[in-house]
Symmetry: C2
Subunit: 431 residues, 2 copies
């Protein structure tokens, strides 16, 4: 059978990984699919990056747009960002080439128009590597669970944040210390905002929600809270007193025919399998109406795992599996995305109060006034942040009521610091 | 687009689940793939089973072979066993219909000829539901990780055995008690041999090894040991003294250009994610050269999860994704399957000895003579099985040497019961 020709635009960390994989495992892939995958060209302004990997120099171009003039079946966009990357993807689709990308920002911001463009040109736009690195979770959701109504997805899909929380949890160190370590190890950027403030996870859960619920979800529709405010004390109390682990979860779920899409620190039962996902590993826990609970776990970033995902898309295309996104995305009947104030959840609340009689009663009375039912309460006889920690967990309550109550409580003269609030998901595996 | 017509042969637990899924979620599937999946017919000697689910009576046939005369695009074989099921699959393939099956015994025994038949007739034989129930692990291996050399697969792929071991571990009960509970809950058959003696897992790992290593692996090539000999004492010692959990693992891995395929109780570090897979849940931990470590987790059996997997195959076919098995399977250059006596592993050994001076020295000296290096040793001052337990773990050693040493040790007059031997896999997630 004819070879399947791919042009790779961008030969940095991931692009270089894809070139390496295709060169090292090319024979294995040919044996598996009965057809060779051939590198048609590699484009990168730093041509030496491709040359160093052994790509013949006649196949190495400095300019991604120029390179598209060469013959190929699919273009792999691994430039990143939404500038030149967007132009390359558009040009390639218009030329009738399939496109593979790992670019979550591009998809989150321009997914709708790019998928339309692919559809108009009768080609496929594939994006396995955009969420969960090497974990084939897009494929699982789109194909492996295709018969299921997706009830919920709970994802640990930012390895940096998970590494930091794991270090804080296992060693009792502060957020700042753990972030510094992550930076020293190359797991976090000098400016860690995208990772620790939840925006990277928001891009990714927008993509998963789009697939699961057949409606384009944009990043700005995702409720986002990062992990900066979490203290080792909260992690310790959650575990020792309530049996919870703390994770930055990206969540999307069906609630009364509408959907929620959110990223925030979340307490989950520590015996739940998601709580065992540590370090830079990622995982998506997916609940379907027929399949029940499933989990997909692996490395969420890095040169080799991401290359593995990109190549799975290339192999799919080489086999003629050119279906990319659910047809219904173009139908325009959208499930509504709920506003944060409509969420209902159990909550963990840590108040920082002066050590005086009657404090607990004051807090409890305000919560009661807002119809918030307390599940457990404890007061620690330690000094923390200029007061004593008073911790409560609640039964499910409207987020709106919690916000109003916290505002009132934080205005009390016995409260010395803003209250730390964390949502709880009472995940339970049903055997 | 035209509807995709499926004929379902066998309307028992799984067949009924597939009918139910297609009826309940048919509209959802149509929206996702832009094409309706239509039930062409349902065949079952007990016609009322299909009728009760709402299949119109003109589509319900008593005879699976007769039913194949009706027009359809794919036949779904859910009879089970290797008798009539085999005939139905063969007839359907010969008629040029794609086939979907959940029948692991059929594939393990007749996979080679059936896949050849499918290839000759230009159709696909799909089998997602044959391993891991609802978990899309076949798809992951075949497509999602298609770019990777598969270094190893460690599977918990028998829910009954995992339920029993989980109960023994969490509650300290005996194998017999846990089996009885599993039977009462419907998780184990009256004759539990297939599950607890490892044969069901052997069928499944033969299928996974076939896909991973491009050579037909038959069940009789799998080394199999079941879980009947495990005691709560071993589980407790493994956890408390050595930090291991005990699982029935189905393993296949590349070792020096050859492969091992085996099913046996295995001790693994209890902080490894596989050790968190409890109850009737299944999981496959897959190591690829590029992707690194991945895990696929979910319900390995049951009406709804299995139906989810069957329908994912149907959806693939409806989308034209008709690739089924690696091309190289038909090439005939096989990786050799290693014999059990060639395995090298760390071992857990529990001797049952008389409480006399010099026992430890005698055991240690025989192990030393066979070049087996002891990692840890402990003697419990409790009575068990008419002696005292003397437990050792070893550094990696040839299984052959262990067998010879144990034979010699068990012949000592101070040893009162056959020694309990369990392999250890020092699994470690590399972050």
């Amino acid at each position: 059978m004819d070879s399947f020709k791919v042009g790779i635009v961008g030969c940095g960390t991931v692009g270089g990984g894809v070139v390496k994989l295709l060169l090292e495992n090319g024979e294995l892939i040919r044996e598996r699919i009965g057809r060779p995958v051939e590198i048609a060209f590699v484009a990168d302004p730093q041509r030496e990056r491709a040359l160093a990997l052994g790509v013949p120099k006649e196949k190495v171009f400095p300019d991604g747009i120029e390179a598209l003039k060469a013959d190929c079946d699919a273009v792999v966009e691994l430039i990143g960002g939404t500038g030149i990357a967007k132009r390359v993807v558009e040009e390639a689709l218009k030329k009738g080439r399939h496109v593979v990308t790992a670019n979550k920002a591009l998809l989150a911001d321009y997914g709708e128009e790019l998928f339309r463009l692919a559809k108009e040109n009768g080609v496929s736009l594939k994006f396995e590597a955009s969420v969960g690195g090497g974990i084939p979770v897009i494929k699982a959701l789109r194909e492996g669970l295709a018969g299921n109504r997706i009830e919920a997805i709970y994802g640990i899909i930012n390895g940096t944040a998970n590494f930091i929380l794991t270090q804080m949890s296992q060693r009792g160190i502060s957020f700042e210390e753990a972030l510094k370590e992550a930076q020293e190890l190359g797991y976090a950027e000098a400016d860690p905002t995208l990772d620790v403030d939840g925006y990277d996870a928001a891009h990714k859960i927008a993509i998963l929600a789009t697939l699961a619920y057949c409606r384009f979800v944009k990043t700005e529709q995702v409720f986002v809270r990062g992990i900066r405010e979490i203290t080792p004390l909260d992690i310790e109390i959650a575990r020792e007193e309530f049996g919870y682990g703390v994770k930055l979860l990206a969540i999307t779920k069906l609630v009364n025919g509408e959907i929620e899409v959110r990223v925030h620190p979340t307490m989950i039962p520590e015996n739940h399998i998601l709580a065992s996902v540590n370090g830079v590993f990622n995982a998506c826990f997916v609940e379907g109406d027929f399949v029940g609970e499933t989990l997909f776990y692996g490395k969420g970033a890095g040169r080799e795992p991401t290359a593995s995902a990109v190549v799975s898309d290339i192999v799919d295309l080489a086999l003629g599996n050119t279906y990319a996104v659910p047809e219904c995305l173009f139908k325009g009947e959208n499930l509504r995305v709920r506003e944060p104030e409509e969420f209902t959840s159990s909550f963990y609340l840590r108040f920082t109060a002066l050590d005086r009689p009657g404090v607990l009663a004051k807090i409890a009375s305000i919560l009661g006034k807002h119809n918030i039912s307390i599940k457990m309460a404890l007061q620690k006889s330690i000094e923390f942040d200029g007061g004593v920690p008073v911790v409560m967990t609640t039964h499910p309550a409207p987020k709106k009521a919690i916000s109003l109550a916290i505002k009132e409580i934080d205005a009390l003269d016995v409260i010395v610091k803003p209250t730390f609030v964390c949502m709880i998901e009472e995940l339970e595996e049903r055997a």
